[in-house]
């Protein structure tokens, strides 16, 4: 079994206008940088992007927004991006805001063949409008639907040709659940390793969830909020 493709360009073959994509990452942490760059170059447009955030003006999904390749964002928080604001206010960009935990669980559900589940998040708010409400244990819950995508694009630390993935630190975030929910899942990794190098016990995403894998050319791994403390004298 060999799921390795040469590069980002080859990995994103088949992504077409008006498709739905999931993209891993939280802020700029753990985003598939190389695949995003390749998507910008294809000029594919009309995309619905399911991603917790929308990048910043000149990095991450912001690059696709700049080129107006995104029709709709499905996210929990989109606040760091002037171009995003402009497109949203002008009505060019549709935005579907989803509570972060419901977003994560809806992706996992999509990957796990659970079409719908009940959650308390959002009950009594505008998020619940039009959704079924039901009491469990004396507490109201709303019914949320699974999310899937034509392509899921995730970024891992290491991976092998079977598609097994290992993530590093909080760059894990949405990547594993989105990997489960893509009809085709593309994984870009910092390092491709030989099968057997990853301990079967410590694999975060089993290869069954990944259809294509490649080693990214380079990783900028930009930090959004560099926050430090000073060493005391």
């Amino acid at each position: 079994m060999n799921k390795i493709v040469a590069n980002a360009e080859e990995a994103i073959q088949g992504i077409q206008d008006d498709m739905t994509l999931m993209l891993g990452g939280f802020g700029l942490c753990g985003i598939p940088e190389n695949a995003i760059t390749a998507l910008v170059e294809t000029g594919v447009t009309g995309l619905t992007c399911i991603s917790n955030n929308a990048g910043v003006d000149d990095f991450g999904l912001g690059l696709l927004l700049q080129k107006r390749q995104i029709k709709k964002m499905v996210s929990s928080y989109v606040g760091e991006n002037a171009e995003f604001e402009r497109q949203m206010l002008s009505g060019e960009l549709e935005v579907d805001l989803i509570p972060q935990g419901s977003l994560a669980e809806r992706c996992r559900a999509g990957g796990a063949g659970i079409p719908a589940f009940f959650t308390p998040a959002g009950y009594g708010t505008e998020i619940a409008e039009g959704k079924e409400v039901r009491m469990f244990n004396g507490k109201p819950h709303i019914l949320e639907m699974a999310l899937t995508a034509d392509f899921a694009i995730v970024k891992a630390w290491k991976g092998d040709r079977m598609g097994n993935l290992v993530f590093k630190g909080t760059a894990r975030n949405f990547n594993p659940v989105m990997a489960m929910a893509g009809k085709i899942t593309i994984a870009e990794v910092e390092e491709l390793v030989e099968p057997g190098e990853l301990d079967p016990n410590t694999i975060h995403t089993p290869g069954i969830f990944v259809q294509r894998i490649f080693q990214g050319e380079k990783y900028e791994k930009r930090i959004e909020q560099r926050t430090v403390r000073q060493k005391e004298a």
Partner: protein, 217 residues
């Protein structure tokens, strides 16, 4: 009147040994600086870490280690990392003993609004709706009034809600209040703040029973 740090310090007194705690952005983040001695708590950040430590020293930042505010952080010994679904399993499954977050408005029935102002740009609710709908124990940390001097403790929220009937306690620059049947019950006053001042700054129904002590630090 308390400053932001003192609000955080007062809330820190509520911490109990062994608790898992989720701190929102803003004043709640400051609470980590005031953990009482002899108390050990673990901080969860909903982007996927338990055992969040202080900010890194200059030059030691790791792009792969951030908190939910996207700030660079460190991990304590004994920390664990997990995906977003597992993170919210902890939150939704009530494994977190205390959630502290900011608010634009709190109503006397425990409703909270902190994510959207009609007519203004909406950035999203992030994890706030999951946190408030799930947590057994929520403390709101905020100023008693907004920049225009209007009370943020209301009979009913005027802004779109984040959650209903979920806030249990509020610590403001003026007071500590519990949400009880019927309204905001005044528990403590900030040093030098009178009951009258608190009444004047509270639009919702304020319950004042017996002596109201000043906060001690």
């Amino acid at each position: 009147m308390l400053d932001r740090n003192s609000i955080a310090k007062r809330i820190a007194q509520e911490l109990q040994d062994g608790w898992y705690v989720n701190l929102g952005i803003g004043i709640p983040t400051l609470i980590a600086n005031y953990i009482p001695e002899g108390i050990s708590v673990e901080f969860q950040s909903e982007n996927g870490i338990l055992g969040m430590g202080p900010f890194p020293f200059d030059g030691e930042e790791d792009a792969d280690l951030i908190n939910a505010g996207k700030q660079t952080i460190t991990a304590m010994s004994g920390a664990s990392i997990f995906d977003s679904a597992t993170s919210f399993a902890m939150i939704r499954g009530q494994h977190i003993q205390l959630t502290v977050l900011g608010a634009m408005e709190v109503a006397q029935n425990g409703d909270i609004a902190n994510w959207k102002i009609p007519g203004k740009l909406v950035k999203g609710m992030g994890g706030a709706m999951d946190l408030v709908a799930s947590a057994d124990n929520i403390i709101v940390a905020m100023m008693h009034t907004n920049r225009k001097g209007k009370s943020k403790l209301l009979k009913r929220c005027s802004l779109p809600l984040t959650g209903v009937g979920c806030v249990k306690k509020i610590v403001t620059n003026m007071a500590v209040l519990d949400i009880v049947e019927g309204g905001f019950k005044l528990i403590e006053r900030a040093p030098g703040v009178s009951i009258e001042e608190i009444i004047a700054a509270t639009e919702g129904h304020l319950i004042v029973e017996g002596d109201i002590p000043e906060m001690t630090f």
